[in-house]
Structures are given as C-alpha cells and as structure tokens.
Amino acid sequence: MDIATALFYLVAIITVGSAAVVAFSRNIIYSAFSLMGTFAGVAGIYVFLGADFVAAVQLLIYVGGILVLILFAVMLTHRITDVEITNRAAGRIPALLAIGIFIFLLVQTIRETSWAKAKEILYAPTTARIGDLFLENYLLPFELASLVLLAALIGAVVLSRKELRE
C-alpha cells in the first residue's frame, strides 16, 4: 500500500468516524463539534479527486461558515442540552439486523459492479474550467440553484419574522 492509499483510508476513517459521533452522541454539542471532522474529511476526499477549488470552498464555507453557525445556534439555544430525546431506543435489535443486511447488500453490490472510471486524475487548477462550464453547458442549473437559494432566503426571513406590521 503506497502512501497515497494509506492517506486516503485515514481521511475516510476520519470522515465516517466523525459522522458516527454526530449521529450517536447523546450530547448535541459533541455532535456539532464532530461535524467538523466530517466536513474536513470530505474536503480531503475532494483533494484526492483533484478538485482543488471545491476542496477549498468546502473548507471555507462548511468548516468556516456553516459549522460556526451551527455551533452558535446550538450554544445560544436556551437549555438545549436538557431536551429529552424520546425515541432513543425503540427496537434496537431488529433495526441492527435490518441495517446489517442492508449494508451487506450494498457492499456486495458495490464490489460486483463495474464502475465507469475516469481515465486519470489531473492535478491541475480547475477554476477556469468550472467558470467556463457555469457560463456554457451548466448555465441553467447555475441559475436554478440561485433561484433555490433566493426562495430559501425569503422563506427563512418570513418564517422567523414575528408579527405582521399592520
């Protein structure tokens, strides 16, 4: 196993491990913090794929922005750690069994499938090509994504606004 493969497995373990902590931790603050490992790990995977710009954006936006926002929201919410989680342990064994079968199936299928592989990964700057594609082939999805954001923005303002002015 060369060093790149070993590094990849390390990043993968960090990503999945922190995701598991996010899901299973009883304390929401721990969950919020370990989200950092997941976000950073995903950025690492982007690096392995040769997507430099996306990796940088992932770090800037998710680790630097969204995670901090989540932490603020968690810490500023009044008595958030006292909330009792009611559906904690319902049917643990059947769930474990079902998930086990499901994961087995997934892994088996993934191993058997012949995936379409990229020829080779070019470690070259991607920003220029991303910019070109956004204004050529992917113009419509780009505009549609901005519409999605606009709608979400308006919705967030409306839902958090308290009273009618009239």
Binding site: T113, L140, V148, I154, V158, L159, L164
Partner: protein, 484 residues
C-alpha cells in the same frame, strides 16, 4: 433540435414570464399597501405564462440549454397542469380568510416559485436539473406549509415535512450517484446509451432505482414514502394543501416518467416500451400501486378531520395514477394524463369547499359540517357532494370517466389483479366519501352552528370547478383529444 443557451431563450417564454412575475411580486410588495393587488398580479402572471405555454404546443421536440431540459408536448402538458394548479390556488387564496392574515407578498412569491420548480421537474433531462428542480419544489413546499404564524400544527407539519424531505432527497441523490458511477454521465440520453450497451450489474441498477424512487415517491406520495402527508395536509393553510395534493403529485409523476421512460427503457415497435431485463420496474410499481391505494383508503375510513381524510384519499389516488404507469404503453399513459387533469379539478374543488366553510366557522372537523346544506350553504354542499362522488368514481362525473380509462388500459394488458384491487378500493372509498355527504345533508344542524355564506369570488371559482367536473363526465371528447 439541440440548442445552446441564447437560442433556447426563444422557447423559454413560459419560464421567463413566471420568473419575471416572481421578481416583480417581490418588488411591488415593498410599496403596495393593498396586498390583494399582489394576488391579482400573480394571477395575471400565471395566465400570461399559460398563454405562452399554449403557443409552444405542437412543436417538434428538442433539447434546450445544452441538453439540460427537454421541450416536448409531454413537458408542456405538465407545465399546463402545474400552472393551472397555481392559477386556481391563487384564485382560491384570494377568497381565503386564513391567507389574509399572513404575509401575502411572500406567500404568492413562494407559491409561484414552487410552480416554476414544477416546470423544471417536468422538463429536466439531466440528473442535476432533476435534483435541483426537486429541491426547489421541496423547499418552497416546506416554507408554504409553515406559513401560518403562531399555529402549532402548521409549524409541526413544516418541520416533519422538512425532515422526511431531507431524508428522501438524500437517498435519491445517493442513488443518482450510483447511476453516475455506472454510466459516467448525468444526461438521460447518454445514461440510456450506456445502460443498453454496457454490461451493467442489474442488482446495482435495481438498488439505484429504489433509492431514486424514494425521492420521486415522496413527491408522488406513494407507500412507503407517504408518512408525511396527513400531518402536512392538516397543518398547512388549506389552499396550500390543495396545491400540494395536486401539484406535487403531478410533478412527481412527471419527473418519474421523465427519468424511467427515456433513461432506462426504450420505445419498441407498436407503442410498447422495452426495458432492461432484470430491472423490471413496472412489476415493482404494480405492487406499490396496489399497496398505496389500499392503505390510503383503509386509513381514510377512520378520519375525523376533513383535510386529513382528503390527504389519505390523495394517497389512494396516487395509487390509481400509478396504475397507468404499470401498463407501460401509450394507452396507459393517456389514461394517466387524463386522470391527473380530472383529479386536479375535483380535488381543488373539494378543498375549496373546505376553505369556504372554514372562512365562516374556522373549523375543519367532519362533525362541523353537520347539516351544512340547511345552514345557508346549500350550493357548496351540493358541489362538495359532486366533487366527492367524482373522487369516488361514480357516473356521470369526470372521476368516473378517468377511472374507466385507467381500468380499461389495465385490463387490456391483462393485469386483472390490479384492476380488481382498484375496483374494490373504489367501493371502500365510497363509504367514507358518502359519510361526509350524509353529514352535510341528513344530519340536522345545532342552533349554535354558524351560517355559512359565500363571496362572489369563491362562488365563481366553485361554479367553474363543479361545472368542469360535470362537463368532463358527460363530454370528455375534447380533453381526450387534446392529450394525443
């Protein structure tokens, strides 16, 4: 016809008009005092967009914006359906007391944005566009559901909707990543090419389909992705419930057919569709269809809240609509499209009566409808009876014709079990629909029950919808003809 960005704009008028209306609504909301004008503006925008859509009918099919969306009569049909839904819901909102108490500018903006999302759902020919359009419709639906301020049910419904929706679209995009991994493309045409010539693993393909179906199925509301619908339908403002019940369903069906027909099956000789062996998704849909209609109808039997009852009946109708997909030929397709139009009209009508009654009484329980016909609301009660019997599928109403076409297509292909299950379900549904009608006509009102009156606005809309329901039941020729 395969056009680039600038040349595509010529065929993009409906979307441009709708987006323009949305932006103008946001702008005018700043300085228009009487918010009713905004509703009228939204209404006008819908009509304008509808006109431009009709102008595009009958063109030769083609791709726009570098293979991102497809322009053909099928997508235009669903554009018309979602515009009609938006149009009628805007009209309904103008006469709804619930809506008058909220931020109307943003309400109409988000409503039209949702309709625009449905446009793209019906026309996307690329997995990326499919995902983005589905998210656009989902996000706007969450917002609209939670629009009532200080209403516990509305907030709870929005939150539940958000969580279910997040899980469903996460599952879907995971499935899409499998498809991308197997074919190396996001474009439907190239996916189809790669799947039909390559040695694809059928099990992997099947699992990817199941994942993707989770996302689509959650929009169409079929079992087992239906759990959100009763709570959301009950909690949302009634016009929004009406919009979701027809719009979300139609758009989900559209995106499902868009993906499954061209991408993973091919048109064979004689109008039948061929599909990749080992991945016989119509058989899977057959099961889903039967379970969906049965579960929806059985759960509806015990409901006390009329909006909840209509939610379960909506699940059942999603099952009926799926019947057309199972058949997998042009007959089934036509029957399904016909049924979607008819369902749009009669279901919106039923919700309109809920709005009229809630305007005066503020209540939605079936018990509050007792003796409705004798409380000054004979006309809404009669119309409600028409809509409910049409939903059941009794002649001579539009619902009967729709179901007749569906069952005929199913029986012609030899799916007898499905037809029998469908007919049994129609009989079950008669019980609860007739229960509502009985409460309205045969129970006597208490002296404390308020009188129910209509405004000119709501009675006009009620008149239009009930006339269409009866008209398509007797004289369905033109509508069927326009579907070809």
């Amino acid at each position: 016809m395969d056009l680039g960005n600038l040349e595509s704009l010529k065929f993009f008028y409906p979307e441009i008009v709708l987006s323009g209306t949305i932006l103008l609504l946001i702008l005018f909301d700043l300085f228009i005092r009487n918010k009713r004008w905004l509703g009228l503006m939204a209404f006008l925008g819908c009509i304008l967009s509808l006109v431009t859509t009709f102008q595009l009918y009958g063109m030769s099919p083609g791709w726009l914006f570098h293979h991102m969306i497809i322009l053909d009569n099928f997508s235009l049909f669903f554009k018309v359906v979602s515009l009609l839904a938006a149009l009628l819901v805007v009209w309904m909102s103008l006469g709804c007391r619930e809506i008058r108490e909220i931020h109307q500018g943003e309400y109409y903006t988000i409503l039209l944005t949702s309709a625009l999302g449905m446009f793209f759902m019906a026309s996307s020919s690329n997995l990326l566009m499919a995902y983005l359009s589905l998210e656009l419709v989902s996000i706007t639906s969450y917002i609209l559901t939670g629009f009532l301020p200080h209403n516990r049910r509305s907030t709870e419904a929005a939150l539940k909707y958000l969580i279910y929706g997040g899980v469903a679209s996460g599952t879907m995009i995971y499935g899409m990543s499998w498809i991308f991994g197997m074919t190396g493309s996001l474009d439907y045409a190239r996916i189809s090419e790669a799947l039909f010539q390559g040695q694809t693993n059928h099990l992997a393909l099947f699992m990817a389909f199941i994942f993707i179906l989770a996302g689509f199925g959650y929009k169409i509301v079929f079992v087992p992705f239906h759990m959100w619908s009763p709570d959301v339908y009950q909690g949302a403002p009634t016009p929004i419930t009406a919009f979701l019940s027809v719009g979300s369903n139609a758009a989900g069906t559209a995106i499902l057919m868009r993906f499954f027909f061209p991408a993973v099956s091919r048109l064979g000789e004689g109008g039948d569709w061929l599909f990749i062996s080992g991945v016989e998704w119509p058989h899977f849909l057959l099961m889903v269809s039967m379970v969906t209609m049965t579960l929806g109808n059985l759960c509806a039997l015990n409901q006390q809240n009329l909006k909840r009852l209509l939610a379960y009946s909506g699940i059942a109708h999603a099952g009926y609509i799926l019947m057309g997909l199972v058949v997998l030929n042009n007959d089934g397709l036509k029957a399904m499209l016909f049924y979607i139009v008819v369902y749009l009209i009669m279901n919106l009508g039923a919700f309109l009566v809920v709005v009229i009654v809630a305007n005066e009484t503020g209540k939605e329980e079936i018990g509050d409808y007792r003796g409705l016909a004798w409380r000054g609301a004979a006309i809404p009660a009669v119309c409600m009876a028409i809509f409910l019997f049409s939903l059941t599928g009794l002649p001579p109403l539009a619902g009967f014709v729709g179901k007749f076409f569906l069952f005929a297509a199913v029986i012609k292909q030899g799916f007898y079990l499905l037809a029998v299950v469908g007919i049994i379900n129609s009989v079950i549904s008669l019980y609860y629909y007739a229960g509502v009608v009985k409460t309205m006509f045969l129970d006597f009102p208490e002296p404390t029950d308020p009188q129910v009156t209509m405004t000119a606005n709501t009675s006009a809309l009620l008149g239009v919808l009930s006339t269409l329901t009866v008209l398509f039941g007797i004289y369905w020729g033109p509508l069927v003809h326009s579907l070809h």
